[in-house]
Symmetry: C2
Subunit: 344 residues, 2 copies
Amino acid sequence: MENRTEISELGEFGLIDHLTKTFSSRRGETVMAIGDDAAVLGTGDEKLLVSTDMLVEGVHFDLSYTPLKHLGYKAVMVNVSDICAMNAEATHITVSIAVSNRFSVEALDELYTGIRKACENYRVDLIGGDTTSSAGGLVISITAVGRAKESAIAYRNGANERDLLVVSGDLGGAYMGLQILEREKAVFQEAPSAQPELTGFDYILERQLKPEARIDVVKLLGDLNVKPTSMIDISDGLASEIFHICKASGKGVMIFEDKLPIHGETSKAADEFGMNPTTCVLNGGEDYELLFTIAQEDFEKIKNEQMIHVIGYMTAPEDGCNLVDKAGGQHAIKAQGWDSIAEG
Amino acid sequence: MENRTEISELGEFGLIDHLTKTFSSRRGETVMAIGDDAAVLGTGDEKLLVSTDMLVEGVHFDLSYTPLKHLGYKAVMVNVSDICAMNAEATHITVSIAVSNRFSVEALDELYTGIRKACENYRVDLIGGDTTSSAGGLVISITAVGRAKESAIAYRNGANERDLLVVSGDLGGAYMGLQILEREKAVFQEAPSAQPELTGFDYILERQLKPEARIDVVKLLGDLNVKPTSMIDISDGLASEIFHICKASGKGVMIFEDKLPIHGETSKAADEFGMNPTTCVLNGGEDYELLFTIAQEDFEKIKNEQMIHVIGYMTAPEDGCNLVDKAGGQHAIKAQGWDSIAEG
């Protein structure tokens, strides 16, 4: 009998590694293929960046509470964010969709209104795509193309010991926004006449439904003449992204709980759900903020900037990935969050 | 009550037009966005080309007779073919897939073996992608990137009156190969113990299961120093592609039935099914040959080449699109094929 290995045994990152490990590069202009937020191509100083994402109904979005306009916007945004995470500028996208006939042309108009709005806000041109029917749910596949000078590109693997770890905006909000939406969906399914209780959570609902790629942060760093030594965007939660940078750079990290930027609504919602806000920051995804490292010498340039926050520093690899809690206790950060049993 | 327009009312090309007509370009480097086989980007002489395609199980392929290895190969090939259709060279691809857990890792290995084989044959590097779960069938979305000198790029809109219309390879084979496969699938469903009768149709089965992008034709034209005035690849059947070139270029066309390149197996299979081979050529899709126009002065350069065939010439737009049959009768070519009632 033939071997059958379940996809779930490998996990998403394991599966990509497994499927692509036998591919080799045969083109000199391939600077970075798989393994960062975007591929980097080109032989000259001006590089081309390419990133792609696929969003599947029922896996990445739930149309019962995601307006199609917001979905279209977000689908573009996640790709623009991947290009931002290379410290680069997205310039063009292609959009392919598979739709079943339960969608009307008017529904697709809504989706494309969101896509167009994102193209306007991020200054990217729609240059192609494919539209096909689907027996199943809605699938959206977007590829973004961008550009940057070679000298400006920030990979995941460039962090040095003693570099400062910096994050933009605030974290955990998109995750708590999702909890609110899921709760209201459950209430609605129980009692369709009940009014949703969404008041007081405008900010975190917007964090979930209409997150923004941080093109402003990339611009700020350029204006401040700060070149990040490494960079990634926060799509899966802070802990997961920290591990990517530490693994790629061969470093450890020390972060401080009291430095984590958390919005008041995020804390309030976490309280209501009996969750620890720090756990939401570490494990909750979809904030699409930028996480990056800078040389200590650059601290003076950024210290007065409101949109970015130093949350820790890089250490030797043997020191591992650690969080210092508000009481001064030290905890090893785990792949899925952090160990709440104090170790130090 | 809200308006509801069914997607089927617009058709595929109508839907793309409808959804993208309100998008405007805001980047100077966008030379060609939507409307050709690939987008063309860049400000210098060296241009970047981008094309994308989405393949959906049950719509574009049937896993009951398509080996996953062939599917992977073909998914790459269709994108490489789109770049060829600009008279350009594909260099890089991204591959995203959505799969349900009915697929094993071993099944995906088969798919990626085909993808890798195509990368090797067409000399393209895999540079990224996304792997996600799907509640429905398999979805494959591939984006190809390529390059060409501005002066070499062949758009659909450059055909001139009196230009020769040229096609590579032979036509109708992929369509007849599909008929054979569908027939055998029906036989199998009726009587699973029956042996499939595929002998004698090796060539057209391969045309359907393992078509090739004509990178060799692009290279030949370069070697011959022939720049096509317009070009497209034949994915939907000759009639449809002829209409694209005539519409984009604002021209008419005259083609000759006795000049259409048809393989012996294609004719034989058409006979078995009681079909007219010329109808298969005009309406059958998926040959992935190149259809292009060249200036009459270039005829001397190509006349001895075996892999390309002159099948007609471009005319004034008011003359329309016509086919001269083997008896000398003239017929207007219709969007779905040709009118078999002689008009002239």
